[in-house]
Amino acid sequence: MTFEQKKHLHYQLLALTGEVDLHNSPQVRKQLLDIVESGSSVIVDFSALSYIDSSGIATLVETYNLAKNKQLSLTIVGATGAPLQVMELTHLNKVFPMIDSLDEIKG
């Protein structure tokens, strides 16, 4: 798993590549919580993500909740395949804003 963070409009975009699992989700957690703590809304790019386990999903839940408490947001972009199915299995696709492409984000 690797991730890359960059600015997109007034959001911080975190693109995840590969597999998020028990071993590397703490890194993702630190990155996401740091972004939100610093006062920025976050977009997590799933388009190059092949797998996310429940520690990764739990991390997204925690980040979403922190963002909400700070009147910020967490958005998922480009979820397909197994990661999308995990979101559906946990019903989080009905909680998190999920978009197909960054074009749907208006500044």
């Binding site: 957690r29 386990d53 429940s54 739990a58 925690e62 299995l89």
Partner: protein
């Protein structure tokens, strides 16, 4: 070895005994990644013994068992421990610790085997409770749950580490029909969303036909057939047809063997 790369379980020429009694007689069995395999057979057919061998809880008389590339018969303790972290097991009665709450039981493997933050562990535990329709039961003791709830709590603990391989012993035994159907649907969803390979031991035909990619039927310690649901349904084997039609098996009686068993207690 001609094992395919896609096999996650490879059992070859497995022979086992309990004392003098020959339980499994030359079992050859393989399961592909992502497959839902149902193992069926009556009481005493050897299906639970086969399950215990795949969990490396028993040592065979002869033969080999390779799981996710690990030779479990000859592996050392450390290798087995690492392998077991990729395996989840849901036992018949749930097998929860009675002195801990439901939530504590479910998060136990995470606390033992991972360095995840406590917040992450708590949310993971609640995600699994939600999935098993047990939201809000976190702080109850196992003795306060019904049989079906205990089974689901046991399943929640079995999948808390998102195992690659899930073993499920008699999922629908003792459940009402609606709960049993829900559990079958959950098994299908877990495979699809979590890429799990799932081995289910059951004697419930209806459930087997609903969830199985392939079914292996054991009779008297031997594999009678391994096939798709259609292949099982169309099998000409009278024992399989009897099983499907729920007829008692027509025992072949060997008079000499029978008298020997009655008089000496030996097979």
């Amino acid at each position: 070895m001609t094992s395919s790369n896609q096999s996650i379980i490879e059992v070859k020429n497995l022979v086992t005994h309990y004392g003098d009694r020959n339980i499994l007689k030359d079992i050859n069995f393989s399961v592909e990644k992502g497959e839902i395999r149902v193992i069926m057979g009556g009481s005493g057919s050897g299906k639970s013994t086969l399950l215990n061998h795949m969990l490396a809880l028993l040592t065979p008389t002869s033969g080999s068992i390779v799981i996710d590339g690990v030779d479990v018969v000859n592996a050392n303790r450390k290798t087995l421990l690492k392998l077991r972290q990729k395996m989840g097991v849901a036992f018949q009665g749930g097998a929860l610790f009675s002195s801990m709450t439901v939530g504590e039981n479910i998060k136990l493997p995470l606390q033992h085997h991972t360095k995840l933050d406590e917040h992450t562990i708590d949310i993971m535990t609640r995600l699994k409770l939600e999935l098993m329709n047990l939201a809000g039961y976190e702080d109850l003791m196992p003795s306060e749950l019904s049989g079906g709830m205990l089974k689901r709590a046991g399943l929640a603990r079995a999948v808390i580490m998102d195992p690659k391989l899930l073993f499920f012993d008699e999922p629908s035994a003792g459940l009402d029909p609606v709960t049993a159907v829900e559990l079958d649907e959950l098994i299908l969803k877990l495979r699809d969303a979590m890429n799990m390979t799932i081995i289910v031991v059951t004697h419930e035909l209806e459930s087997a036909f609903k969830i199985a990619d392939k079914i292996t039927v054991l009779f008297d310690g031997e594999i009678a057939i391994t096939g798709t649901v259609d292949e099982i349904k169309n099998s000409k084997d009278i024992r399989i047809q009897n099983m499907i039609n729920r007829r008692a098996r027509d025992e072949h009686l060997d008079a000499d063997e029978y008298i020997k068993r009655l008089t000496t207690g030996k097979n």
